[in-house]
Amino acid sequence: MVVRSSDLDLGFIEEVSKISGQAVKSCFQCGTCTGTCPSGRLTSLRTRTIIRKSILGLKKEVLSSPALWECMICFKCHEQCPRGVNIPVVMLALRNLAVREGVSPPEGYPKMAKSVFEEGAVQPPQEVVTRDFESFNRVSLKLPALSKPADFGKFSRALGEIGLRKFIGG
């Protein structure tokens, strides 16, 4: 691949390091992370490459990469990294930056965010069908109602202040 200096944002790695609180530049590309990664075996995620491209300053390419969303945040790489970089935290920082730049995350995320904003949980209580094909919900299972914020108005106002409303398009 050809990399032009016009593709590079040299301030990008500083931004990523600051937001994640990690010394990302200390990576010496040993590849232990990619070798450990259980997701990368099945997905397009190449952990080492994401870090390398971030350090080089390929901001647009990194932030628009679907691989960012294929990290399972399992921390196996972090346990093995000889530099002690908390790579999952870097991935989360990259995701936050991507969203701020207008990248659309996988659709499950806006759905969950909307549900938290409106119901206080990532999804409302479900009806389930058992292996014997019987249907149950919380009421028929005699479970108490789920706890929820006492004053929903105040709860969603605080979330709105942080900016959640903007993200879910409200």
Binding site: S39, W69, E70, M72, E79, Y109, F155, R157, L164
Partner: protein, 269 residues
């Protein structure tokens, strides 16, 4: 089950999501949601017992972050003030495995059971967030955890380690790469089927969802050979203490747990 072993459980009033999945979208949103649940515990004078590994990790990470960053703590408290809440960082956070192993203890469990799970062999699954990141302090050792196996032994059952023991269940990419997440969970089930285990045991609801509730979807994707019994540890504990199956929610497991329950009942009758 915990009340039967002298641990009082109280619902936190007003609790909402800890926001773990929303950490991918915005760190502050997640920090606020998690701190909010901790503040509610402080307000209600409760220790917190998150049942899910992800929630437990969120609580521990946010406690650490707010202690290290006073400016962030004040920002969070400004948001919490609208609900008359304040986060100080004094609420204790416990994990189910810690409560069972460290607080109650295997000896007390062994004495409390009336019917041991003799003759059955179980594979323990801790789940990533019960073990990592190790520097934060997790319920068990990241490289060689032992507590869940010890707890299985306390029920009179056999256990064994297996190469995939510390593998992730794939939940983290269930939203973004659904098929891959099912394949990851399926790989462990496939292995355990032929490795001489009777069932998989976990304490995390999200891992449980991947291995148990999604088992049919895994089978459809991988071509069938992944059907395998999966339990919550507390379900097995309850069986050994003589609790009825309905109370233990055993009718709700989607995996074929009936085989194991039958074996258990055959041995004790």
């Amino acid at each position: 089950m915990l009340p039967k072993l002298d641990i009082d459980l109280v619902e936190i009033k007003g609790a909402a999501c800890c926001g773990f999945p929303l950490n991918s979208i915005d760190n502050l949103t997640w920090t606020y949601l998690t701190a909010r649940n901790l503040a509610l515990c402080e307000d209600q004078h409760l220790d917190m017992l998150p049942l899910c590994n992800g929630c437990h990790l969120s609580m521990c990470e946010v406690k650490h972050a707010l202690q290290a960053n006073p400016a962030l703590k004040e920002r969070v408290n400004a948001l919490l003030a609208s609900e008359d809440l304040r986060y100080e960082g004094v609420a204790r956070v416990r994990h189910v495995i810690e409560v069972l192993h460290d607080d109650i203890g295997p000896e007390k469990i062994q004495k409390a059971i009336s019917k041991p799970l003799a003759g059955l062999k179980f594979a323990a699954h801790y789940g990533c967030h019960a073990l990592r990141p190790s520097e934060l302090g997790r319920p068990d050792d990241a490289r060689n955890p032992k507590k869940l196996e010890t707890l299985i032994g306390a029920l009179g059952a056999r256990w064994d380690i297996y190469p995939e023991r510390l593998d992730c269940c794939g939940a983290g990419i269930a939203v973004s790469a659904g098929e891959s997440s099912l394949k990851i969970a399926g790989a462990k089930l496939e292995r355990l089927r032929t490795a001489g285990f009777d069932a998989l045991v976990t304490t995390c609801p999200f891992c449980m969802r991947m291995y148990d509730a999604r088992q049919e979807a895994i089978g459809a994707l991988l071509g069938g050979a992944t059907s395998f019994p999966v339990f919550y540890y507390t379900q097995l504990l309850g069986l050994c203490m003589g609790v009825d199956e309905a109370s233990l929610g055993l009718h709700l497991n989607m995996s074929p747990v009936g085989e194991v329950i039958q074996k258990f009942q055959a041995r004790t009758s």
